[in-house]
Amino acid sequence: MSDSDNDLTSDNISGNSVSPVTIRNLNIEDDPRFELLAKNPKRTEILIAISFAIAAVLFVAMMVDYVKGANTQVEGGLMAAAFCLLGIGMVAWGKYLMPKGPFEESRHRTSSTDEDKKEFVDAFIGRGKIAVSRRSFLGKILGAAMGLFGLFLLGPTLRSLGPNPNNALNHTAWKKGSRVVTTDGKLVHVNDLDVGAFMTVFPEGVIKKSELEENQQDLYNSQTLLIRASVDNIVTEKGRETWGPQGYLAYSKVCTHAGCPISLYQQETQQLLCPCHQSLFNVLDGAMPIFGPAPRPLPQLPLAVDPQGYLIAQADYNEPIGPGYWGF
């Protein structure tokens, strides 16, 4: 804790008419730097003592409150008050009841003296010349050996932590013929959604009876937004003529920007908004990004309607879902 009125602009150092000297060889009686800042030290002392005493009482109050159930606000308020009182008391003690100063210490050149440098060189080269110059190849081999051990350590401490990506990012839990289910595991019938409605769906099998048994990776990768944009078939792009039966469109829910689940759908404009970084996608246009940082459209899941009228997937996504990665 410093006091700002003692800063560079005040002239209290020269004003003392004693040039600051080192703390050693001091004569405390005559030196104005050893005067106290407090005008009335006795009174200051009493005030500090009172603040410490109140803090002690507050700590006792904390114990009482703890026994009675420890209310967060009561405990925290008491603790804050007690520590602030201790702090104010200590700072006042250090500021008003100590020699007011200013004191000075001298500073010497940071680097070593020429003599010290010479002695070091004598010790290092003189005594160790053979070690340093003649046997340097030993050092190199030692370094190489240790380096190889370090390289080895990358295996157990990094490589073994998890599996390699292999093909994991190229497919999801959707398969040809996967029936579409809701987050509750119910099949989705073609009559279930009104135009303008949307929901999060998964392939059948990912949603289990108990959430405790669900595979989190499948849950993440296969999460899909099911939107009913119309009653007629929708073709979002050339080559996707059969992907949107009876106005149902399904897009990966994983944002192609940073992987957040896209959860906002605006029916009027037929847009999807990612709440993390506000990428906007056009539902009718193959989820092309029209705003924000997302660089790629959301992959579309080819849908079909089975003979019973339930929605199924024609196949898995035909491109990796989610944000870009090395080896895409």
């Binding site: 804790m1 410093s2 006091d3 700002s4 800063d7 560079l8 005040s10 420890a70 967060t72 925290g76 603790m79 804050a80 520590f83 602030c84 201790l86 702090g87 008391g89 200590m90 700072v91 003690w93 250090g94 500021k95 100590m98 100063g101 200013p102 004191f103 000075e104 210490e105 500073r107 940071t110 073994s160 932590l161 998890g162 390699n164 990506p165 990012l169 405790l212 989190q216 990776q217 849950l219 993440y220 957040c260 689940p261 959860s263 709440p275 993390c276 970084h277 506000q278 705003f291 924000g292 940082p293 997302a294 660089p295 790629r296 944000p323 870009g324 990665y325 090395w326 080896g327 895409f328």
Partner: protein, 537 residues
């Protein structure tokens, strides 16, 4: 052999009875016999701390780190670092019966069930935010005053490393509860790791134990990094930071009696030790106040993280805000060559911090190279003394602040009820323009302050215009006062062709005007007329 008589007070006890002071002396003697500490401790006691408020900023960081350690140890007694799923049966009714992870379950329990737990958890979170805030402000102080110059470049690098480690530590810390918000943050971190060229995808799979969200091992891994690895590094580097500070001694602002060869201020013993201990109590007090009354991260309201759920209008902790903002304002670019891709998120979240932190680290050397400065500096510069550095610093700060503000595009658009597109485009452009404007203004202010010299804040004498009986106009300076810029330059300039009487009258009137101006604004309107009155007389 002389006794280590640390208590001159012994004389006051003539009866020869053993006193507390004797015991202190004996204990000191015991340790000195084994460690030889007298000289070293004396040198330590003599260490001088300059009396300037800006030297407190680093202390805030130090003491919030102490709070973090103490509160963190408490939290480890209750937190369970496991992603295994279970059914919540705790005391918070809205969550009962839902499936949660052990990590989330234990965090909710230690918040709502363990006595004192919520206070400690909130203090821990607030202390982390204050820790990084204090580091950032302390770093600004060191930067703008040139305290990083030779011989302190190494300590600057240690400081930047502490900042980086602190940010990582903070991110890991708020990711541990496994709530809906932190889980989304983790997903973004997976994407960021994936985007690193060549090794990224593998790295992400290894660290998370498979494709996102992994096999659950990320929680215990983050935990051990958060409570052991990084705190140990932080503590060690803080030790190095302080050791270098003692070895190289403090810098100080220039002033009377202060030179490159000394340090003027309060000695470690007794003044500073008491003040700094008191300051630590105050830091604890303020953090306790925040922990008690300012709710932070109420994870029981957010709910357990589920891979397909997300919250709206969520921002990360403040020190991650600039990275989140950068992610938002990045144009939708991506560079692909066959299966080799530099994904969009690489630029704002890997490249940007990489460049920023590397510039921080090498800045002392850049500046020394440009200025061809190889000398030691122990006297600080005021920001105005080095306008270029101050301008660059102000511009950089503005850039980071703009990125930080950009992490609230959605909130701003809602709050101001304007289109999200406009807000985004504003930040996409302004983030790169406003820093230059601020830098130019900062440069200009520095130059003006330099010109003003010590006159900054003093009164400029105004000119009095008056008309003579014959219609001629004259000007003359108002009378000099002790708070005038040119007071020490001597008497005011001689006025033109004034008779002593008129000059006297004008001066009196001008003095009156001056005091009126200082006093009330209304009377200034009538002044010109008053002056005319004088001249007619």
């Amino acid at each position: 052999m002389a006794k280590l008589d640390v208590t001159k007070l012994r004389d006051q006890n003539p009866k020869g009875k053993k006193t507390v002071n004797d015991q202190i002396a004996n204990t000191a003697e015991w340790f000195d016999d084994r460690l030889g500490l007298a000289k070293g401790t004396r040198i330590f006691f003599n260490k001088i701390f300059p009396d300037h408020w800006s030297f407190m900023l680093g202390e805030i960081a130090l003491y919030s780190f102490v709070v973090l350690l103490v509160t963190g140890i408490f939290l480890t007694l209750y937190y369970v670092p496991s992603a295994s799923l279970m059914i919540y049966h705790g005391s918070y009714a809205p969550l009962r019966g839902t499936v949660v992870s052990a990590a989330y379950n234990s965090t909710v329990n230690l918040s709502l069930h363990v006595r004192f737990g919520l206070l400690v958890r909130q203090m821990h979170h607030w202390a982390a935010d204050i820790f990084l805030g204090a580091i950032a402000v302390h770093m600004c102080r060191v930067f703008f005053t040139g305290a990083f110059r030779k011989p302190r470049e190494l300590n600057w690098i240690v400081g930047v490393t502490l900042l980086i480690l602190g940010i990582v530590e903070g991110f890991l810390g708020y990711s541990l509860p496994d709530d809906l918000i932190s889980g989304t943050g983790l997903r973004i971190m997976f994407s960021v790791t994936e985007s690193i060229p060549i090794v990224g995808t593998h790295l992400a799979f290894w660290i998370f134990g498979g494709n996102y969200p992994g096999d659950g091992s990320i929680i215990p891994r983050m935990f051990i990094a958060h409570v052991l690895l990084i705190p140990a590094l932080l503590a060690a580097l803080i030790g190095v930071h302080l050791a270098l500070l003692v070895k190289q001694k403090h810098t100080q602002f220039p002033g009377p009696g202060k030179t490159e060869k000394n340090v003027v201020g309060t000695p470690m013993w007794p003044g500073f030790m008491f003040k700094t201990q008191g300051f630590m109590f105050l830091v604890v007090g303020v953090i306790a106040l925040l922990g008690a009354f300012a709710q932070i991260n109420p994870i029981w309201q957010y709910g357990q993280y589920l891979p397909y759920k997300v919250s709206y209008a969520v921002q990360p902790d403040w020190y991650m805000g600039w990275l989140d903002g950068a992610l938002r304002i990045m144009p939708s670019w991506e560079f692909q060559y066959h299966s080799f891709i530099i994904p969009n998120q690489f630029f704002p979240s890997v490249l940007l911090p990489g460049i920023a932190f590397n510039i921080f680290i090498i800045w002392p050397f850049i500046e020394a190279k440009i200025k061809k400065d190889k000398t030691e500096h122990h006297l600080l510069e005021r920001p105005r003394d080095n306008p270029v550095r101050t301008a660059i610093g102000a511009g950089a700060l503005t850039f980071f602040f703009m990125l930080f503000a950009a992490s609230a595009t959605d909130v701003l658009a809602n709050y101001l009820t304007i289109s999200l597109n406009i807000v985004l485009w504003f930040f996409r452009i302004a983030t790169y323009i406003i820093p230059f404007i601020v830098a130019a203004i900062a440069y200009r202010v520095c130059i003006e302050l330099q010109r003003a010299g010590d006159a900054a804040g003093k009164r400029k004498r105004f000119n009095v215009v008056w008309r003579s009986d014959t219609g001629e106009y004259f000007t003359e300076k108002s009378p000099a006062r002790s708070d005038d810029v040119d007071y020490l330059d001597g008497e005011p300039e001689e006025s033109l062709e004034l008779t002593p009487e008129v000059s006297k009258m004008v001066n009196e009137k001008a003095d009156l005007i001056a005091s009126d101006r200082n006093g009330s604004q209304e009377s200034t309107d009538s002044n010109p007329e008053d002056l005319q009155q004088i001249s007619r007389d």
